[in-house]
């Protein structure tokens, strides 16, 4: 006689076994070991996905399980419907076609970059229901709590007949997804670019994988982190100088994460020149949680960098990474092993500083990339750009920031992560970066969100850096000072023009606001000549010819 | 108009002009003059082969017929828009043709061109626009690019461009506008051979187009600007 709880346990397992039996009968002799021919992909999906299933479709801001996405939209909505989709990133049109076709109805996700506008339109027309918008770490975490996938559709570079997967340098989200699915009665299907006798290394063990489909085309992958040095402006050089001298050197920042914009690319390219000239080599920027930005090559070659752990890889950087196993995490095959979940955790807990750009900052220091007509989500920035309340180990930068905080708000000694927002006061087309109210409020109202989608909360931000200077919010005694400190670097935006000039001068006297000249930086020195590379080609040369940029970035 | 009928009207005293592909080549007699005829037809695009063939024709005239006038008959939809022609350096072939025309001029060949059908930008620069006298039939179409394409590139609406075209010859296509701007010496109507003989009487080997544009009120700055450069310290 079975006990009731054992009955429940068996239910899930039986359900999976029924699905696998259905798949076996549909595929018949076409199934060899775990290999399913591409032309049977749709039938396989119909066999293993039941109405209402939670389906995780892999895809992030770089690699995409695009063939499986294209197959999923071809299933018969009579058989497969009401799906609850789990996705790190909505990147492909198919990801939203699912809802128009009546295949899926509910979505939990993290980031939607390229589909943000269409997603907003579909939410407006009630064609799609959003469960929640997460950070990457939150979404991965929920896979292990209440959003465990019934079926995971993942992507890898190659596989063998036993289903061992090789992801190459773009391992990214795959381990987190597969682990949650495979160990909780789920089914894992992988699309691969090629079948091999023996994978170069096992990134996902074969007994965690149920089916492998050789894709007719290599999966889509985006070079998201390549910034052409030719496009860095002299204003960005000036801001980078302030970041290095006014923050990195000031706190002795050794462990950090950078955003992906041109502002931070400028910092990377100033390390072997400007930072070196200040004698900072070895004193700052040794350890990174970072994608392999091509603009890091000169700093790596100059001996600035001791280690980089990456969320994902970057197209064209493969050979360079393989040649620098002293810096990057690489496998026995020579290629990098990335892991988004671990790198996000590293960025949150092991880094002393996050610096990145944003679209809008309000007078409390809250920042958001939300605009009215786009639901773009969060990605990883909120976890990078947040003080890690659970952190206990100390470092000089962390302690100094904590000390500065306690100078204004006494409390028990503890440290503080440095969270820096780096923005020009106006973006292109004269869009102000400083606003009275974030567009996030209106978006929340429009999309019926419980709270406005704030990327980084004001109380997590320690510094705001603009071309006008640095506001150190740690040193502000109260909300009023904080607001004036922000206005004091908000330039000619309406918020900046509305400053209390006397109070701003007082804050400057106290070092809460620092201008370039206060840091001993001559604005005339802020020229592109300071950049360690002026073009993509310079980066290739710095890499000794190992970096092979995608054709769209080349001019030779 | 068909090139044959144009040639017959230009050279009523007989001609030996033939077509090979889209190239027209030969000579004709017009009153006291024997003129070399070189041209294109079928609104052809000018690619490397055609530019080279026209250049060969010019060099041939220079060699074999000293001082013989050259008449270019222009009908082209522009330079050939092919990757392959760009790969081979189409601009170099066009420039070569222009150099041959200039060499002919310097060696005493009067150069006349007649746009009898269509003339577009790149295809026109290297021959027709190199002439001492550049003329067009009144119905000929001359332009840089179509109004729609121009609207797209300049981000100015087509309506606004055609509106502007009414008050200024700069914006809109058309032979009349090129006349006003000095880009054409004359529109030829009626007795074409008389027009040609007239042109051959009044050859001026200096580039007088900015003067014409100024006199005709279509291009008021080119002339004075050049004068000011010449007069600067």
């Amino acid at each position: 006689m079975l006990k009731p709880n054992e009955n429940m346990r068996d239910h899930e397992r039986q359900r999976r076994n029924q699905k696998l039996a259905r798949a076996a009968s549909v595929l018949g002799a076409s199934l060899r070991d775990k290999i399913v021919p591409a032309d049977l992909a749709v039938r396989l999906l119909e066999a293993v996905i039941a109405p209402g299933d939670r389906v995780c479709l892999e895809g992030d801001n770089q690699k995409q399980a695009d063939f499986l996405a294209q197959s999923l939209i071809q299933v018969d909505p009579e058989k497969v419907n009401r799906l609850h989709m789990l996705q790190s990133v909505l990147a492909l049109p198919e990801h939203l076609d699912l809802y128009e076709l009546g295949i899926a109805e509910l979505l939990d996700f993290s980031f939607s970059g390229p589909q943000a506008a269409r997603l907003a339109r579909m939410v407006g027309k009630k064609q799609i229901r959003i469960g929640a918008i997460h950070t990457y770490l939150e979404l991965f975490s929920r896979y292990f709590v209440d959003l465990t996938p019934h079926v995971a559709l993942v992507v890898a570079q190659s596989a063998d007949a036993q289903g061992n997967l090789y992801t190459g340098p773009n391992t990214e989200d795959t381990p987190a997804i597969v682990e949650a699915t495979a160990f909780k009665n789920g089914i894992v299907i992988a699309q691969v670019n090629e079948l091999v006798d023996k994978v170069p290394r096992v990134d996902i063990p074969g007994d965690w994988v149920n089916f492998v489909i050789p894709s007719p085309r290599p999966h889509v992958i985006e070079p998201l982190f390549t910034r052409d040095p030719a496009q860095i402006s002299e204003i960005q050089v000036l801001m980078a100088m302030m970041a290095i001298k006014g923050i990195y050197a000031e706190y002795g920042v050794q462990r950090l994460n950078h955003g992906i914009g041109f502002d931070t690319a400028a910092i990377e390219l100033l390390l072997p020149t400007y930072a070196e000239s200040l004698g900072l080599k070895g004193k700052i920027c040794s350890h990174w949680a970072l994608n392999p930005h091509p603009t890091m090559i000169p700093a790596i070659e100059a001996g600035f960098v001791k280690s980089i752990h990456a969320f994902g890889s970057e197209l064209g950087m493969e050979n360079y990474i393989a040649a620098r196993p002293d810096v990057f995490f690489t496998g026995p095959d020579g290629s990098m092993r990335s892991n988004r979940a671990f790198s996000q955790a590293a960025g949150h807990y092991a880094c002393d500083l996050f610096i990145g750009s944003t679209l809008q900052i309000d007078m409390a220091g809250n920042s958001s990339t939300a605009t009215l007509d786009r639901i773009s989500g969060f990605g990883g920035a909120p976890n990078m750009g947040a003080d890690a309340g659970g952190r206990r180990h100390a470092s000089p930068a962390w302690l100094k920031a904590g000390e500065q905080r306690r100078s204004q708000q006494p409390g028990i000694p503890r440290g503080r992560k440095l969270v820096v927002q780096m923005v020009e006061t106006f973006r292109e087309h004269m869009q102000p970066a400083f606003v009275a109210e974030l567009d996030a409020w209106k978006l929340a109202e429009f999309a019926n969100m419980p709270i406005p989608p704030v990327m980084i909360y004001g109380d997590d931000v320690t510094h705001i850096l603009t071309e006008e200077g640095i506001a150190n919010l740690l040193l502000c005694a109260n909300a009023e000072e904080r607001e004036q400190a922000i206005r004091g670097v908000a330039g000619y935006t309406e918020m900046g023009l509305g400053r209390d000039a006397r109070m701003v001068e007082n804050l400057r006297d106290r070092g809460v606001i620092r201008r370039a000249e206060d840091m001993g930086i001559n604005k005339r020195d802020a020229t592109r000549d300071l950049l360690a590379a002026h073009s993509i080609k310079d980066l290739v040369r710095a890499s000794g010819g190992l970096y092979q940029p995608p054709v769209r970035f080349r001019n030779w | 108009m068909e090139w044959k009928s144009v040639v017959e009207q230009l050279c009523p005293d007989g001609h030996e002009v033939s077509q090979a592909g889209n190239l027209i080549r030969g000579y004709g007699r017009c009153g006291p003059h024997t003129v070399a005829v070189i041209g294109t037809t079928n609104h052809t695009e000018v690619g490397v082969e055609l530019a080279l063939a026209m250049a060969a024709a010019v060099i041939n005239v220079i060699h074999d017929y000293p001082a013989r006038p050259i008449v270019f008959l222009v009908d082209t939809s522009g330079q050939r828009l092919r990757h392959r022609d760009e790969l081979l350096g189409l601009n170099g072939y066009m420039a070569h043709l222009a150099k041959c025309v200039e060499m002919a001029r310097r060696r005493g060949h009067p150069i006349v061109s007649l746009v009898y059908e269509q003339a577009l930008s790149g295809g026109f620069l290297a021959n027709g626009m190199m002439a001492d006298v550049c003329a067009a039939l009144p119905e000929a179409e001359i332009r840089v690019m179509g109004l729609a394409a121009m609207a797209r590139v300049t981000r100015i609406s087509e309506e606004r461009l055609s509106e502007l075209g009414k008050s200024s010859p700069v914006f809109a296509p058309g032979a009349k506008n090129y006349l006003l701007l000095g880009g054409l010496d004359a529109l030829w109507e009626g007795d074409l051979s008389a027009c040609l003989m007239d042109a051959l009487q009044s050859i001026d080997t200096t580039d007088h187009r900015r003067t014409l544009g100024h006199e005709r009120g279509g291009r008021m700055l080119a002339y004075p600007v050049v004068q000011r450069v010449l007069a600067s310290a």
């Binding site: 204003i235 330039g491 023009l497 604005k523 | -």
Partner: protein, 106 residues
């Protein structure tokens, strides 16, 4: 297109040689500085592709004059949507070039 004019009185007459700085390209501007007897005033003319930013230009120019307090000069600006940061940078470069050229010529 929008044309804006500003005049600041009470500057120090500043000798120099006509200077031009910058390029009228997207997100950029060109600044021309010329010596003109204006009784110590500084006159500024702006021609900009972006409409509706008069108050920002006013503030940028006021700060520019406060920084340099130059008189007897005319500043002419052609703008293609530059941000205030770029505008301020170019204005400073233009004045510095104007003064430096004046010194090298005397």
């Amino acid at each position: 297109m929008e044309n804006l004019k500003y005049r600041f009185d009470g500057g120090t007459p500043t000798r120099g040689v006509t200077a031009i700085v910058g390029v009228l390209g997207s997100g950029n501007l060109e600044v021309l500085v010329e010596p003109v007897a204006l009784g110590g005033a500084c006159e500024i003319e702006v021609s900009t592709a972006a409409r509706g930013f008069g108050s920002i230009w006013q503030a940028v120019m006021k700060d520019f004059f406060a920084r340099h307090r130059v008189g007897d000069i005319r500043v002419s600006v052609n703008d293609a949507g530059a941000t205030p940061a770029i505008v301020s940078l170019r204005l400073d470069q233009a004045i510095e070039t104007y003064i430096a050229q004046g010194k090298s010529k005397t």
